[in-house]
């Protein structure tokens, strides 16, 4: 076998192996998207009921709570960025990071100091590499977040928002995550969790539904006190789940195009290998023919 042909054969083998791997990763990601989507769906009833309850307290009483009232001069804000632990997901992580950086820039332009909290190794690595300050970070659960994970993430954030900005607390809490729109579309977006915009919460409900006058047990303040941290946790949980689903969908897409590209590469390489083989055969034939005629000429000469 000629040297050229051998090189092509070796490359085809290597690309075939890579294709098998990316194909497997694509299938795994595809099955995980379905699972993650199911988890998002399973967490929806809790989130809806909680939103209803928050709306009820917010609109049904004149309670003033630090978590619902806006500070006049917000000076410090917390940004929670959700990325994934592993890459191979196309632009998934860089989109989320970009969205977080835009948000940070905007907040800083408004004169706020920004504390960054990060979930996921990719985001942490990005910030560490640029030697930016991270207030706190969590890794290791981004593929399949549980409610307990959401609670651990939410705890320091709630603590920070309950403190005054002067004592190292924050006035605002923003979250940057990747919304799972469909299998093909996932968009990185930012949202303000706290202080709560009650109108916004209320809008999520169907219009024209009158809110009943609630009886609070034990009191509206206590209910709100207990309700808001749960609300934040549930929002973070939902964002974690959506991020996970988006990440798997992005991985699936990235791996699908990798598999497609590998297939194309194999086709091209096979063509080249065939051409090389043909050239080799042609050369061999011409060598034989040339040799034979030379031999014939030589014997013809000696006969004479």
């Amino acid at each position: 076998m000629g040297a050229q042909l051998r090189v092509y054969k070796r490359r085809i083998r290597s690309v075939t192996a890579t294709k098998k791997i990316t194909k497997a990763m694509e299938m795994i990601a595809a099955s995980r998207v379905v699972k993650a989507q199911r988890k998002v769906a399973a967490s929806t009833p809790y989130a809806t009921e909680l939103t209803r309850a928050v709306t009820a307290v917010g609109t049904g009483s004149n309670t003033k709570h630090p978590l619902t009232t806006e500070t006049e001069n917000p000076t410090r804000a917390a940004v929670l960025l959700l990325t994934s632990d592993r890459g191979l997901a196309g632009a998934f992580n860089s989109n989320a990071i970009k969205a977080a950086e835009q948000l940070t820039e905007r907040l800083e332009r408004e004169g706020k100091q920004v504390d960054t909290y990060i979930v996921g190794r990719r985001g942490v690595a990005h910030y560490n590499f640029r030697e930016r300050k991270i207030a706190e970070s969590w890794t290791g659960f981004t593929d399949e977040p549980s409610y307990a994970d959401a609670k651990t993430v939410a705890a320091p954030l709630i603590e920070a928002i309950e403190k005054d900005a002067a004592d190292g607390g924050v006035d605002e809490l923003h979250i940057v995550f990747t919304e799972f729109v469909s299998m093909m579309t996932q968009t990185a977006l930012d949202a303000r969790l706290l202080p709560l915009r009650l109108e916004e919460v209320a809008e999520e409900k169907p219009q024209g539904e009158l809110l009943p006058l609630y009886d609070f047990e034990p009191s509206a303040e206590d209910v709100l006190d207990a309700l808001l941290p749960r609300y934040v946790e549930s929002r973070i949980y939902n964002a974690l789940l959506q991020s996970a689903a988006s990440k798997h969908a992005a991985t699936r897409r990235a791996m699908k195009s990798a598999t497609d590209n590998a297939g194309e590469l194999i086709n091209t390489l096979s063509r080249l290998a065939n051409a090389a083989r043909q050239a080799e055969i042609t050369q061999e034939i011409s060598e034989i023919v040339g040799g034979a005629s030379a031999l014939a000429d030589a014997t013809a000469g000696s006969d004479r």
């Binding site: 967490s43 909680l50 409610y147 946790e233």
Partner: protein, 124 residues
């Protein structure tokens, strides 16, 4: 047929139970509260405790709810708990083990959780 109210018992990551009921008893921070159809709109904070739902077909559903809220409006009652388990989902032996362990480690909240689970499981 007696009046009914619609009950949704949801945990953070799943819907635990949903259906029609005639009476729901749950423990709020200020004491046990029973809700029957036509109750005034209510929003309360739940303590860790068993929740008893008397279903409209005469059965009883008991669940252990760890923290959360009860909200009632328009004959719809929602019980939101971070963790909620139906009594027949509770593994009694596991709960007993958890109770012992919690007692040894003097972990008050874990002990309470295990205790609630056991009470819900035994009252079925």
């Amino acid at each position: 047929m007696a009046a009914e109210l619609h009950v949704e018992l949801v945990a953070a990551d799943r819907q635990v139970w949903s259906g029609e009921a005639t009476l729901v008893v749950a423990r709020t921070t200020s004491g046990d509260i029973g809700v029957m159809p036509g109750h005034q709109p209510l929003l309360g904070v739940l303590e860790s405790g068993p929740v008893t739902i008397r279903t409209s077909d005469g059965g009883t559903v008991v669940a252990a709810a760890h923290g959360g809220f009860i909200s009632f409006a328009d004959n719809k009652l929602s019980l939101l708990a971070e963790i909620a388990e139906l009594s027949d989902e509770i593994d009694v032996q596991r709960a007993e083990r958890a109770l012992e362990r919690a007692k040894e480690e003097a972990d008050a909240s874990a002990e309470r959780r295990a205790d609630v689970r056991l009470r819900a499981a035994t009252s079925r």
